[in-house]
């Protein structure tokens, strides 16, 4: 292999598999890009941002305190559904109308709420800084892929406050372990249990269900089947969704009265014995729908918490799950319409390893189809901003400008619009308005960069991927900001 093609592979490794090149990084990766990638596949998982940030146990306590404050201040309202503040009225997709409408000032509820949000913003900034500085760009993007696959979203306040802990505790440690383990950790985390309404689902024939008029919520069960594991190709029915939802009843988060034994009054049925798990998960037998269940034709005896777990494990290990995920990985890393050979190789690695994600990651790195020289993917706004920082050797320092930039480009931080997560194709990210907003941001960013040589930046960030047209345009620009803007907006930098 010639020196040039080695460097080209280094440039591909750092941009297509990683988060973009920092100055000198392509040269450092130089001779052994595959070795560089494989060295990041570690049993301990992907790195986490520097903290300290609160654990989900801390956040559960803070959340319960917040709920207490809210309840104390609640004005009785006629509507049954007004029991809590309506969700943020950020009605219009893609608009800069994020965030809940805050109650009036000097409101303890607001203060409590803001404290929870501050942590989330700080943690998001820390994660972006990790992305901008990490030497393990592949592990970082692999982790982001899985965090997006198991989407929990800040569009719901309740889940928003757990998102940082979620990614840190449930996703990153498991992204190079078995998919089954990752799945279980994700589905039992408070972020997911609250985002998909599982924490409040009650078996109608459970002890708690018989005592009050409450019942099943099938949201989590449906999205696990549809999005997280087998997908619609497995041909599950509404009955499968309902059965799975029944099996999952009892999966919840702590309540104020937990641990104090059965208290008086209406809380009694809800409390009962509570089995606590990791990361703030609890299992409430008194809420669990009793009985054997059947999902996708397979019977599951009544084993309490174990029943839902058994179904989840079978779904995680279902052949359709491997098939879906093989394609989704190929789409994310290589092309919107990925080479069939790559998908096959990933599916084979998945199947033969029993869903060992380290093995799947190695298969991705080993596949020749993943190394085609022509970049096909458009960077997401987050990838664009983080890779721009990497190119400049800088890192984001304030949460608000980062947030504003991502909102404008259509990727509100931590707030994918649906449980399907962020979309992943050029058509999603390179629309007319999105490109205008990218250009706006690029101009701002280029004007703020301290004295750097634009041609050097372009060459260092793109290596042999820098085309002649872009090289000339950068060299001939009339000012440094103009040159850097052209570099950031060039096809080579917009794609990976």
């Amino acid at each position: 292999m010639s020196q040039d093609s080695k460097t080209l592979n280094a440039a591909i490794a750092v941009t297509r598999f990683g988060m973009g090149a920092r100055p000198g990084e392509i040269d450092r990766v130089g001779a052994d890009p595959r070795g560089w990638l494989e060295a990041q596949i570690r049993p301990s998982g992907a790195p986490v941002a520097e903290g300290p940030f609160p654990s989900s146990d801390d956040q559960v306590r803070a959340y319960l305190a917040y709920r207490q404050v809210s309840q104390d201040r609640r004005i009785p309202r006629r509507e049954a559904g007004a029991a809590s503040q309506p969700e943020a009225p950020e009605a219009l997709e893609g608009m800069a109308m994020q965030g809940p409408a805050e109650p009036s000032p000097a409101d303890p509820r607001r203060e409590s709420r803001q404290a929870l949000t501050r942590t989330a913003n700080a943690a998001f900034l820390a994660r972006a800084r990790l992305g901008a500085t990490t030497p393990d760009g592949f592990a970082e993007r692999w982790a982001l892929f899985w965090a997006n696959h198991f989407t929990a979203s800040a569009t719901k306040f309740q889940s928003a406050i757990f998102l940082d802990a979620y990614e840190r505790e449930a996703i990153r440690p498991h992204v190079f372990g078995r998919f089954e383990t990752l799945t279980l950790a994700a589905e039992q985390h408070p972020a997911m249990l609250l985002y998909l309404d599982q924490a409040q689902s009650i078996g109608p024939n459970s002890l708690a269900g018989q005592r009050r008029n409450a019942g099943l919520n099938e949201n989590l069960a449906r999205e696990i089947l549809e999005l997280h594991t087998v997908g619609s190709a497995a041909g599950y029915s509404q009955a499968d969704v309902t059965e799975f939802a029944r099996a999952l009843t009892g999966w919840s988060i702590p309540a104020p009265r937990d641990g104090a034994g059965a208290g008086p009054g209406r809380g009694r049925a809800r409390v009962g014995a509570v089995a606590a798990g990791r990361n703030g998960f609890v299992y409430r037998p008194a809420v669990h729908e009793p009985g054997a269940r059947t999902v996708l034709g397979r019977p599951y005896p009544e084993t309490g918490l174990g029943q839902g777990e058994a179904i989840l494990k079978d779904l995680a290990n279902h052949p359709e799950t491997g098939r879906r995920l093989a394609r989704k990985i190929a789409v994310h890393f290589v092309a919107d319409d990925p080479p069939p050979g790559l998908v096959t190789a990933l599916e084979r690695a998945w199947t033969t390893s029993g869903g060992d994600l380290a093995g799947v990651a190695r298969a991705l790195v080993a596949a020749p189809e993943a190394w085609g020289p022509a970049p096909a993917k458009i960077k997401t706004p987050y990838e664009f901003v983080v890779s721009a920082h990497r190119a400049f050797g800088s890192e984001p320092r304030q949460p608000q400008p980062l947030r504003q930039a991502l909102v404008a480009m259509g990727q509100v931080p931590l707030s994918p619009p649906s449980p399907e997560g962020w979309p992943d194709t050029a058509a999603d990210w390179a629309g007319p308005d999105a490109l205008v907003k990218r250009l706006d941001w690029a101009r701002t960013a280029a004007a703020l960069v301290p004295d750097v040589g634009p041609s050097d930046v372009a060459l260092s960030a793109l290596g042999p991927r820098l085309g002649e047209r872009t090289r000339l345009a950068v060299a001939r620009a009339e000012s440094r900001p103009e040159a850097l803007t052209l570099f950031l907006m060039s096809p080579e930098f917009q794609r990976r």
Binding site: G81, S84, P89, A91, G209, R222, E420, G431, D433
Partner: protein, 387 residues
């Protein structure tokens, strides 16, 4: 729409069947038509809007028992035994003026309860999942030849994706098409048609927004202001004729009442903002408000509802023909519920879309049945009398 125009379109459609691209072949015909063009705004309510709370079946004896605490008790009276959610006061006033109509029980042609699959079908205009990779509104643009399409938000929704070039816009842009950088970037993008075409379209729309609205700085919850800004982009000789707008957040599994209040208030403000902003163009405007599916007829155990089937569709605009309910009411009687849990649809949502496209934008019937909504002729006949 005049007869001669219609004939012109027929000829062009013939040409397209012979392999000539409609997007370009049609341009001359429609663009040269004298006089102001009709406007269409399609609002997609993402997340499955609860039709039973929007168009409330006040006379249906099963409504209250099924809905319990979720039942809307103070709805604003419509015709035919229905009421409108009280947050939709603006739309209700339009109904009083003959400028708002409702279809209480529509659905897409396939029965799925997945948001994403159902949104794809709602927007691709086909009969099933992934049956089309582009959107029906984009194909309708092709069939009209030369009408200008615009979506609001950084991302173009599937309904407007496809071969016909469209633009998109959201508040906050600062760069116009006349900019020196814009032309330098066009040089950089000569071998990347996606980036070249989309950036050019985006900059052109941004320039237009600046020209019509100056420095548009909308407050983050100024939904009415957004409606007015969109309306400005729809006026003038370069104004968009067909607009797609997404409003999300309708997935009300828990504590539905408060969430719906907020979402519907926003929706009502969008409509009133558009109406104000469009001025005299409102008389040539139709708005369609549709969602991917409805929610369960019964309240669930968490003061919300789960994924269902039939939902309501709303039409508004000065170009509407006054009238009552569109389609039939299946009732909420237990045996009439779809799969024992959902409002049963009585009308294919495509029939409404087709009625609007034919009578408002002049899309030819053959194009509607074969291209815009492929093989829909028998299953979803075009509704008459809407416009």
């Amino acid at each position: 729409m005049t007869r001669s125009l219609d004939l012109t379109r027929r000829l062009l459609l013939g040409a397209s069947a012979a392999g000539v691209s409609l997007a370009f072949a049609g341009r001359a015909g429609a663009q040269s038509a004298a006089g102001p063009r009709n406007k269409l705004v399609v609002v997609i309510a993402r997340g499955a809007m609860d039709g039973l709370s929007v168009v409330v079946p006040t006379n249906d004896p099963d409504y209250r028992p099924l809905r319990a605490a979720l039942a809307i008790e103070d709805s604003l009276a419509l015709s035919d035994g229905f009421g409108l959610h009280p947050a939709l006061a603006g739309l209700h006033a339009l109904h009083g003026q003959g400028q708002m109509r409702f279809a209480p029980a529509v659905a897409i042609p396939v029965r799925v309860r997945s948001h994403f699959d159902a949104q794809d079908v709602l927007e691709n205009g086909g009969e099933g999942l992934r049956s089309q990779t582009d959107g029906w509104l984009n194909r309708a643009l092709a069939a009209t030849g030369g009408l200008k399409g615009l979506s609001i938000g950084a991302q173009t929704p599937l309904i407007l994706r496809g071969a016909s070039p469209t633009s998109s816009w959201s508040p906050g842009g600062r760069t116009g098409a006349e900019d020196r950088l814009a032309s330098l970037l066009q040089d950089l993008y000569v071998e990347d048609p996606l980036l070249a075409g989309n950036l050019a379209a985006g900059l052109q729309t941004e320039a237009q927004a600046m020209a019509t609205g100056g420095e548009t700085r909308l407050g983050r919850n100024d939904v009415a202001g957004l409606g007015q800004a969109v309306a400005r982009l729809m006026t003038g000789p370069d104004g968009a004729d067909v607009v797609a707008l997404s409003i999300d957040g309708w997935d009300t599994h828990v504590r539905q009442v408060g969430q719906l209040q907020a979402r519907l208030t926003g929706l009502d403000q969008v409509v009133s903002g558009l109406r104000t902003g469009l001025g005299e163009s409102w008389s040539r405007t139709v708005m369609v408000i549709a969602t991917e599916f409805g929610r369960t007829a019964r309240a669930n155990g968490t003061a919300g509802t789960d994924h269902g089937t039939g939902s309501a569709l709303l039409l508004a605009g000065g170009a509407l023909k006054p009238g009552g309910m569109i389609g039939d009411w299946p009732t909420l009687a237990e045996p009439r519920l779809f799969e024992g849990r959902d409002l049963a649809p009585t009308l294919d949502v495509r029939s409404v879309f087709k009625g609007v496209l034919r009578d408002h934008l002049g899309v030819d019937r053959a194009a509607l049945d074969d291209r815009v909504f492929p093989t829909s002729g028998a299953e979803a006949p075009t509704l008459s009398g809407l416009v």
